[in-house]
């Protein structure tokens, strides 16, 4: 018997909205739990004071600073490297076995679990290069970890810029580099920014790769060679070792709120860029 297409349509509609609702509600539940459990512990002192007694008391100021340092420096390193690689792959090479190899490498890197990056960072930066547990080792490890995301998203964005725009630029007697700098990159900017934002999110939320390389010192990192503890790592240790669930939830809430803030700011910047360039 043939089922009435209108009924199938309705069923699909209901089914799909149920799926969407399910996905969103999980997210909402997680955020809600963190908010409810963490909110009572957040105040001015929690954010701006130093932890005491392994984090059982006091605030998380050094972790907030450490998170910002780590994410910011990694992005500052990975962005020029990643965007540069993407420009090379799209504008300066023809599709060949060589570019396929690079692309394959990039994709493989993107699929490696972060703990392996942590292990590599530990063996190479911390031990071999004698950096010790330090902000520097953490930054270098995270840079390698987020590079593939930046390369892939930048490459897609650059590829999406119409070829015609490059040709016009040449016809106005611009050189290749001028064309890339003044036409291709600005036009690809929204896409490139998306990749950068995704990467910031990854860097801020990362634990495994950080704990092995930047360590988990509770002091405020004042130089590149200091160890430090990001909010994600702080949360992990507080919860894992049962030091203080209250402080753990407080930290988690600050972490979630800062990621939310980053995303809101990113969307705002991105919409501005998009409005300008399209």
């Amino acid at each position: 018997m043939r089922v009435n297409p209108r009924i199938i349509n309705q069923a699909v509609r209901v089914g799909l909205s149920a799926q969407a609702l399910f996905t969103v509600s999980i997210l909402v539940v997680i955020v809600a739990i963190i908010c409810v459990k963490g909110f009572p512990y957040i105040d001015f002192a929690f954010i701006f004071s130093f932890p005491e007694d392994m984090g059982r008391h006091g605030g998380i100021f050094p972790s907030i600073v450490g998170t910002i340092q780590l994410a910011l420096l990694s992005i500052l390193l990975a962005t020029p490297l990643g965007v540069g690689t993407a420009i090379f792959l799209t504008e300066y090479t023809r599709e060949s076995a060589f570019t396929k190899l690079i692309r394959f490498g990039v994709e493989s890197l993107a699929g490696i679990p972060s703990i392996l990056y942590g292990l590599f960072g530990f063996i190479f930066f911390v031990i071999k290069l004698k950096m010790g547990w330090s902000l520097l080792a953490g930054v270098l490890t995270l840079t390698i970890m987020i590079l593939p995301t930046i390369i892939r998203t930048s490459e897609e964005a650059i590829r999406a810029v119409p070829r015609q725009l490059r040709i016009v630029s040449y016809s106005l007697s611009a050189s290749k580099w001028e064309t890339i700098k003044k036409v291709v990159l600005p036009a690809a900017m929204p896409g490139i920014l998306t990749g950068i934002m995704l990467s910031i999110g990854r860097a801020v939320g990362e634990t495994a790769a950080v704990i092995f390389t930047m360590g988990s010192s509770l002091r405020l990192p004042l130089s590149l060679m200091d160890s430090g503890r990001t909010m994600a790592v702080h949360f992990y240790i507080l919860a894992r070792e049962g030091i203080s669930m209250e402080k753990a939830y407080g930290t988690a809430l600050v972490l979630v709120l800062s990621i939310l803030l980053i995303n809101v700011v990113a969307y705002y910047l991105m919409n501005k860029a998009i409005a300008r360039y399209s």
């Binding site: 040709i167 016809s171 007697s173 003044k182």
Partner: protein, 250 residues
């Protein structure tokens, strides 16, 4: 010897094994409009693109014979200078996805200009030249992609004029425009020929007849006939030309 703005001598061009232009002897007079007509795939755009070396971007292309810009051999002109001298307007209006003003100063910046006042004066002058100034004077900072198709194409012409070309190549500049916009662009061409040399490729025979002083008819890579536009359209010397302009094929 007569000096032509553009000239080719025994020009042959191959895309891989395909012989796209065959022994072309062609010239373009200064301060006049020369039109190239012919059915699709006859090589007219390919010939046009030879003059600012836009064909360089295509792989597997081979060019033999002489191409001259103001009697100077093309190969001996630095490509940046060549493209400054020989500008081009494309089939589809293609402003950059930036503001009107940023589009207009693009060429100026590429040529190293940085003084804001001089740039602004230049932009205003070129927008006047294409009749866009009054409409756009308060809209310098709107996105160029929000303009109508005709205004975009005018903007592209204005953007080109900022770099002060001597010769303008137009590659079917009206094929994406409606008839009224087409008429306006044609009027613009006639105004511009006072100061510029224009070579236009067009699909539209009436357009060639309306605006050009000289017309070349191309077919399958040959330049079949070249002469005064009035002569080509009233008493063509070759029956293939006659066949095309009377609409027997096209």
């Amino acid at each position: 010897m007569n000096e032509f703005a553009l000239e080719t001598k025994d020009l042959n061009l191959y895309y891989g094994n395909f012989h796209a232009l065959k022994n072309i002897d062609f010239h373009v007079h200064s301060n006049a409009i020369t039109a190239l007509i012919g059915p699709s795939g006859c090589g007219k755009s390919t010939l046009l693109r030879c003059f600012n070396r836009m064909n360089d971007l295509i792989e597997d292309i081979r060019i033999e014979g002489g191409i001259y810009v103001h009697n100077e051999k093309l190969d001996e002109i630095d490509i940046i200078n060549l493209r400054k001298k020989v500008g081009m307007v494309f089939q589809r209006p293609n402003p950059f996805p930036f503001t009107v003003y940023e589009n207009m100063i693009y060429g100026l910046k590429v040529h190293g200009m940085s003084n804001r006042r001089t740039m602004k004066e230049k932009v205003e002058k070129c927008l006047h030249a294409v009749g866009l100034f009054d409409e756009l004077k308060d809209k310098f900072h709107m996105p160029a992609l929000d303009l109508s198709e005709e205004m975009k194409q005018r903007l592209c012409v204005a953007r080109l004029l900022t770099v002060e070309p001597e010769i303008i190549l137009l590659d079917e500049p009206c094929s994406a425009l409606d008839p009224i916009a087409t008429m306006r662009i044609e009027e613009l061409m006639i105004e511009l020929k006072e100061r510029y040399t224009i070579l236009i490729v067009t699909h539209n025979m009436q357009q060639a007849a309306r605006v050009s002083d000289y017309t070349g008819f191309m077919l399958l890579g040959d330049l079949v006939e070249f002469g005064d536009t009035s002569q080509i359209f009233t008493s063509p010397g070759d029956e293939r030309t006659e066949g095309y302009i009377t609409g027997r094929y096209g």
